[in-house]
Structure formats: C-alpha cells, structure tokens
C-alpha cells in the first residue's frame, strides 16, 4: 500500500527547491537578520569581532536568550508571562536572602528558590486556566505583586534595597562554578551562561519539534478548543509551560546572583518585554501556535549584538535607542518576505 504512496514527483508541484523548504522555517528570517547585524558591526567597528568582543556580546545575549527561549515556548502555547522579568530578580532575592540572612548553604538556598519559582509558575498557569482570564492580565497581577514583594521584603529584612554579601556565604564557590564561572577559550574568558543558553535552546528545540509535549504546545497555542476536542491535556500543558518559564527565570536569577554577588530589588523590571520581543523577532506569532526555540535564541542574539555593537561603534549614547530601533526594524524587515509565507496560512 505504502508503495503506491511513494509516487513519482507530483505534477502539481513546481520543482521542489531547497530554498522553498528553508523559507518556511520560522527561524530563517531571524537568522538572516542576525547575519545582517553581525556583518554590519563587524565592518563598522574594530573590536566587535575580537575574541573579547565576541565573548561580551554573547554574554549579553545569553541571559536574555535563556528567557527568550522559555517565553517563546509559552508564546507558542498561546500565553504570555509578564512576570518573567521580575521573576529573575525574585529568584535571585530568595537565594540571596536565604544564603546571607538565614545562613543556609547556597546550594540549599538555590533549591528553595527553585521551589519558589516553580510554585509561582504553577500558580500563574493555574490562575490562567482556572479563571479563564487572559494570561496578560493574570501575569500582570503576579508581575505587580512580585515587584511589590521584592521591594517590600528586601527592605523589611535588610533595610536597604539590595541584598549583598553573597561572596562570604557557604557554597558560593561551588555553586558559582555551575552558574557564574568562565571558560577560557584561546585566552579569552567566556561566561558559562553562554553554555546554559545554548543548552537550554537545544533542549527546548528538541522538545518542541520532537516530543509529544512539544506537539501539544503547538496545538494548544494554535487552537486550544480543537486541541481539547482531540484529547490534548490543555490545562496540564499550559501549566507546564508557565513552570518552564519560571524555571528559566530561576536559572537566570541564579546566574545573576552568583555572578554579581548582590541583587537589587527592582532588577528585572521591564525585561519581560525584551523576552517577548526577542521571541517575536525569532519568528513566534503573538497569537500562538507558531514559532521556534532556535529562532528566539537568535532573536536574543540580534538584540545582544545590536546593543553591544552600538557601544563598540561609539555612537553617541543619547541616540542609543534610536539606533536600536532602526537596527531592529531593519533586521526584522529582512525576513519580511519569508515571514509572509508563513503568515498566509494564518487565519
């Protein structure tokens, strides 16, 4: 039977080209955008391509990228998480408060903050599914609440707006190896966060495309009613996605606290939109059901390269945002024609 199916080339197809196959991949646009930005800054600045320069913009892209990948997964699943930005500060604060104020070992503190993060993520997901409210509103609530808690609790415990003194805590060195060490490649120190970013993006890409959970993610984002009708566990899938985002926030929070050894209570505010932006640049649809983890990682890379490239180019920093805006628009316009193709099937 299946022999008959493997027919000769279909006469209804223009000859299949590699180009056409590539072009429907959601991340192709962002890849071209990234190449554009890369080429541009490699030419106009001297240090951008130096090992130190590369390490620098990779580092900047890495923490953004880890979050962008998680947020992209959530967005493919049809939801937003506005609390993702502050969560990176909240997890860092929980770790820091446990380690410096209550004197537990850093490792134990990390476990506590992980539990905290997963709980908040599950709460977000549960509230969204339970109340039927848009996740934009629900996570806005948790965003504001966490922001208040970060400041309130920090001031209550320390009297200042930051928690510092991690360096003298128990287990700082060993935990730091995992989250904040650097790797020497050819004389240049690369942050380990870059590895985390690559790892996270690779796992996410694999999960999205190759596993059942990934299939469900696309489905619940594409049409949650249809998915439910064919037996996809919609509630469980979405809650898991929220928890994934929280987990990513924990990784980033841990990287930040162990690297900087201190954390300020208002950290992370506003970053949630950078995550969403990186994901959208990477080819995710805001309406859900379409996108890619690799694309989001590349979106973060564009962001990081543009941000640092402008510094290397020594353009007047008053106009920083103007350059960034133009850079982003240019990068995104490159993939315009490609994106169009995918959009045609949107309803």
């Amino acid at each position: 039977m299946s022999v008959a199916v493997q027919a000769a080339p279909d006469e209804r197809l223009v000859k299949p080209r590699l180009w056409d196959r590539l072009v429907v991949r959601p991340e192709i646009g962002s890849l071209l955008g990234a190449l554009l930005v890369f080429a541009f800054f490699s030419i106009v600045t001297g240090q951008f391509l130096s090992p130190l320069g590369v390490a620098n913009w990779l580092d900047d892209a890495s923490t953004l990228g880890i979050m962008a990948v998680a947020v992209a997964m959530l967005m493919i699943g049809g939801e937003f998480d506005l609390s993702a930005g502050v969560m990176t500060a909240s997890t860092a604060l929980v770790t820091a408060i446990f380690a410096t104020q209550l004197g537990v070992s850093v490792w134990l503190a990390l476990v506590f903050s992980l539990i905290f993060a997963l709980a908040v993520g599950a709460l977000n997901g549960w509230l969204v599914m339970r109340t039927g409210l848009p996740s934009f509103i629900v996570t806005l609530g948790t965003f504001l609440a966490l922001q208040g808690l970060n400041l309130g609790v920090t001031r209550l415990i320390t009297g200042t707006v930051q928690v510092s003194g991690m360096r003298s805590t128990d287990g700082y060195e060993s935990a730091g190896m995992l989250f904040a060490s650097t790797i020497n490649i050819g004389g240049t120190e690369f942050q380990i966060s870059i590895l985390w970013w690559i790892l996270f993006a690779a796992v996410a890409a694999w999960v999205l495309v190759r596993t059942r959970f990934g299939n469900w993610t696309f489905a619940v984002g594409g049409s949650s009613l249809s998915s439910r009708a064919v037996g996809v566990p919609v509630v469980r899938t979405k809650i898991m996605l929220f928890m994934t985002t929280a987990f990513a926030a924990w990784i980033v929070g841990s990287i930040n606290i162990l690297r900087n050894a201190s954390v300020q209570a208002n950290q992370g505010i506003g970053l949630e939109f950078q995550y969403i932006i990186a994901a959208v640049i990477g080819g995710c649809l805001l309406t859900g059901g379409f996108g890619s983890a690799v694309g989001a990682a590349i979106g973060a890379l564009i962001f990081g390269m543009a941000r640092q490239g402008i510094v290397y180019a020594q353009w007047n920093s008053d106009w920083f945002m103007l350059f960034l805006g133009i850079m982003l628009l240019a990068a995104v316009l490159v993939n315009n024609t490609f994106r169009r193709r995918a959009e045609r099937v949107r309803r």
Binding site: G159, V161, N260, G270, S317
Partner: protein, 309 residues
C-alpha cells in the same frame, strides 16, 4: 470648600490615630520625591525620613514617582489628605510649581530637598535641604582630575533621568573630557557588558564614574574583564562598594549624605509647627558632598549595612 484656616488640628479624624505619640499634637508629613521605587539613593532618604518620624513622633508617609506629572499628582494627593507638612524633591520645578503653590495656599508648610534650591523660596517653601546633583558631580570630577585621570566615562543608568544627567554634566564642567554611556539598571548583565564594551572600544578611558552602587560593582567587574587600567568612582554605597574601596578597586564614593535630606526636613517641620522656627534664612541647607575613600571607609562601613549611608 474650605481653603482659609490652615487645617492644622482638625486634620481628618480617623486616620492619624495609629501613630499617636504621647506628646499630643501629632504631625503628619508626606515626603514626595522623584526617585524611582527601589532606587538605592532614595532608599536612604526614605530611611532618614522614617527614622526622624519615629524619633519625633511624626507620621511620615513616603511616596515617589520619577515622572514629574505623576509626582505632581502625588503632591495634590497629599494636599487632599490635609497633611501637616510636605517634603518635596524638585528635579523639575516647573512641573511641580502649581502643585506646590497649591499646597502652600492650603496652609501646608513645604520643605524642598535635593535639587531645585533656586526656586524653592519662590514657590513659598520654608526651607531647602540638599545638595544639588550638579555640585555633587562637580566634586566627583574635581577629585578624579586630581587623581590624574584624563578621560572619564560617566554611566547613566536611567536614560533621561534629570538628576543623573546633572551629575554627569557637573563632572564635565570640572573634569573636561567626559563621555556618557547609557545602561539599563534593571538588567545587570547588559549594564556590565556595555561598560566592558565601552572601555574596550576606547582604551583612552581611564576613569569610570558610576551613579549607583550596583552599577559600580558591575563596572569593577567589567573593567577587570576587559583588561583595562581604568579606575571606578561612584555615587552611593553598599557593602560591595565598601569592600571595593578597601581593596582599591573603587577610588572613592561620592556621599551626598542624603540621609540628612530625609531626616532634617522632618525636624524642620516639627520645629516650624511647634515653635514657628525656620532654618536657613532663605538659603539652602547643604548636606554634602562628602567623599568616602580608603581613609574613612572603615568608619562608614557599618552605617552602610544599616541603610543610612
């Protein structure tokens, strides 16, 4: 409909009950600043005001918003609450003019703090406590110049914040060769990377002026990472900066002693209310700038921990 008699004693019945001090006549003071929530500098101001409130039996209510319009609304709000005294930081005097004049008209004594000393008396404030950001910046510039630096990178962590711009501009007038860099305080990785990139791109930079203690910590690491010989100076303190000053990574920290900018106005308002005293005679009461460096860091370190320096 009553705007005549100063709403002193009858100040709304139910609300002030909580913190009633034994000494009778309670004082309710609203402190409205332009610092953003969670800003380290303004946190110390807040601690100062609250400490004074506790000691003097006054009820202090601290609010802040970086947007001048929103700050004006907070002042209006305090006027509607008929507070007994108002403390306002005036980064943007024009925007606050109407609101402050309304407060004065409503019989509320106003003390201005931090910046805006030139307009303070004009708006009818009874005193000004502060140290303009420009002067603080000038001081920092002078010191760096004295340390033999030739090119300064001034790191602004909130683009468009007028106070931070005044600090950098102040540094420019005394130091000369100053370049500004914008970073995002909420994103420490990015801030650190940008400083690193900036010193890499321009090896002539031999001094970095941070306007916040956490940015300073990031700057120290960035400079180490970039292998640059630049040195860091900063505004404000935290334990990391204290340690860095001790180890020589940070040259000095400008200390505006902003604790006093929170503390003194409460005292002044108390005196004004109970004894009709005014302070300064129309001139500003200056709180700084002080400098913390290797010589005095040990004395000051413990206060940093408490959040009062």
């Amino acid at each position: 409909a009553c705007s005549g008699p100063q709403g002193d004693q009858p100040a709304s019945s139910g609300t002030a009950g909580a913190a009633q001090p034994p000494s009778g006549g309670s004082l309710r003071v609203a402190v409205v600043t332009h610092g953003s929530a969670g800003d380290a500098f303004w946190n110390v101001v807040k601690n100062g005001a609250e400490a004074a409130g506790k000691q003097l039996g006054a009820q202090v209510d601290y609010k802040s918003d970086g947007d001048p319009g929103a700050q004006a609304k907070l002042i209006d709000n305090a006027v509607a609450q008929k507070v007994d005294g108002l403390v306002v930081s005036m980064a943007n005097p024009d925007a606050l003019q109407t609101s402050i004049e309304n407060a004065v008209k409503a019989g509320i004594p106003v003390v201005t703090i931090n910046s805006g000393e030139a307009r303070s008396a004009q708006f009818g404030a009874i005193a000004h406590v502060g140290q303009s950001e420009t002067i603080a910046g000038e001081g920092a510039g002078q010191r760096l110049k004295a340390a033999g630096k030739t090119k300064l990178l001034c790191v602004i962590h909130e683009a468009g914040n007028i106070g931070q711009n005044q600090r950098c501009d102040g540094a420019k007038t005394t130091f000369g060769n100053v370049q500004t860099l914008q970073v995002d305080i909420n994103n420490p990785t990015d801030a650190q990377s940008r400083i690193k990139g900036a010193v890499q791109a321009d090896p002539a930079v031999d001094a970095v002026l941070a306007l916040n203690s956490q940015v300073a910590a990031g700057a120290v690491q960035a400079i180490k990472g970039a292998g640059s010989k630049a040195q860091v100076a900063t505004f404000d303190l935290n334990s990391d900066v204290v340690a860095a000053i001790k180890s020589g990574d940070v040259l000095f920290a400008v200390d505006q002693q902003q604790y006093e900018q929170g503390y003194l106005p409460i005292v002044f308002l108390k005196l004004y209310k109970e004894n009709a005293n005014t302070v300064g005679g129309g001139r500003p009461v200056l709180t700084g700038p002080g400098f913390v460096d290797k010589t005095n860091v040990d004395t000051i370190a413990p206060y940093t921990e408490k959040g009062t320096r």
